[in-house]
């Protein structure tokens, strides 16, 4: 099982993962080969370009046979092609928002809306105080009314847990509402 943690650079993704992970968050590197003009040029490999995408992740054992992985999205928008792999089969996503840089989260919101992945907005209150009202943030990000906007402290385990629980609840209601097939392998 996995949950995707998205957000702009410095929004607190690694801190969020570290707050609940039973392991020190690990970094894995996926080497991507893509026919993309925007990735770095690799000399001597005509027609192919490779780039390395790093992502942090943590692990939470929920039961003897049930493990939840939290994957941070590679921050740079040019690595979005990686997100499809991350999101496939995921429970949903937490979009971490730094209220000082709201615009950094627009792209993640758009992406999950397009992908049809349940998500919640997690407003990371770095110093314990909320700079903007939740309703203002919702409006600024133009997220639909049925998408929860929660405030949290990414350093605090209970706060992170609560956000994850909210996301799973959202995922349950999303599935029920959409009428997606219940049970694996039917879709």
């Amino acid at each position: 099982m996995k949950i995707v943690i998205a957000g702009g650079f410095g929004a607190g993704k690694t801190t969020f993962v570290g707050a609940v992970s039973e392991i020190v968050p690990l970094t894995t590197e996926a080497v991507m080969t893509a026919v993309a003009e925007r990735v770095d040029d690799v000399r001597g490999v005509p027609g192919k370009q490779t780039t390395t995408v790093a992502m942090d992740f943590g692990r939470v054992t929920l039961d003897s046979d049930l493990v939840l992985y939290l994957f941070g999205t590679p921050g740079q928008t040019r690595f979005w092609f990686m997100w499809d792999d991350l999101c496939r089969g995921a429970i949903g996503a937490v979009v971490l928002v730094d209220t000082r840089r709201l615009a950094d989260s627009f792209s993640a919101v758009d992406y999950f809306e397009d992908f049809g992945l349940p998500y919640v907005i997690g407003v990371n209150c770095f110093d314990g105080k909320l700079v903007h009202e939740v309703s203002d943030i919702r409006e600024a990000l133009s997220v639909p009314q049925d998408v929860p906007v929660v405030t949290l402290d990414a350093r605090d385990r209970e706060s992170v847990k609560a956000a994850l629980i909210r996301l799973v609840q959202q995922s349950v209601s999303f599935r029920t509402k959409v009428g997606a097939p219940v049970g694996t392998g039917i879709s």
Binding site: T33, V60, T184
Partner: protein, 117 residues
């Protein structure tokens, strides 16, 4: 191991996998891998990268963890795990259809697990 050429013990992970970075079976990065009894018994005969994966998975690890801990790219790790699984040396636990979204019963278990943390 794989049908695409035997590798010497002295080559880097890409060469070990015969240049493959995609597994035959679609392995999710969160798929859980455990060495089988047979894998444990024969792992000393394997190419080092394959042996390391078997050794690491004496307790289950996700594909992503294996990649991170052995400092191998995700794609190559998937190929190695896929090869080992095809030979019955590791078992892989993941949804039948990795593309499908988790079902409601599973989500309920996740909710309970999170609340009990």
């Amino acid at each position: 191991m794989g049908s695409e050429g035997e590798a010497s013990p002295f080559v880097r992970p890409y060469a070990v996998t015969g240049g493959r970075t995609q597994s035959h079976s679609q392995l999710a990065m969160e798929a859980l891998v455990t060495v089988t009894a047979r894998g444990w018994n024969v792992m000393h005969t394997l190419v080092p990268e394959y042996e390391k994966v078997c050794r690491l998975c004496s307790e289950f690890k996700s594909v992503a963890e294996i990649a991170a801990l052995l400092k191998m790219p995700l794609g190559v790790t998937g190929v190695i795990v896929g090869d080992l699984a095809e030979s019955g040396l590791v078992s892989v636990q993941q949804p039948d259809d990795p593309d499908s979204q988790p079902d409601l019963a599973l989500l309920e278990r996740v909710l309970i697990g999170l609340r009990n943390l």
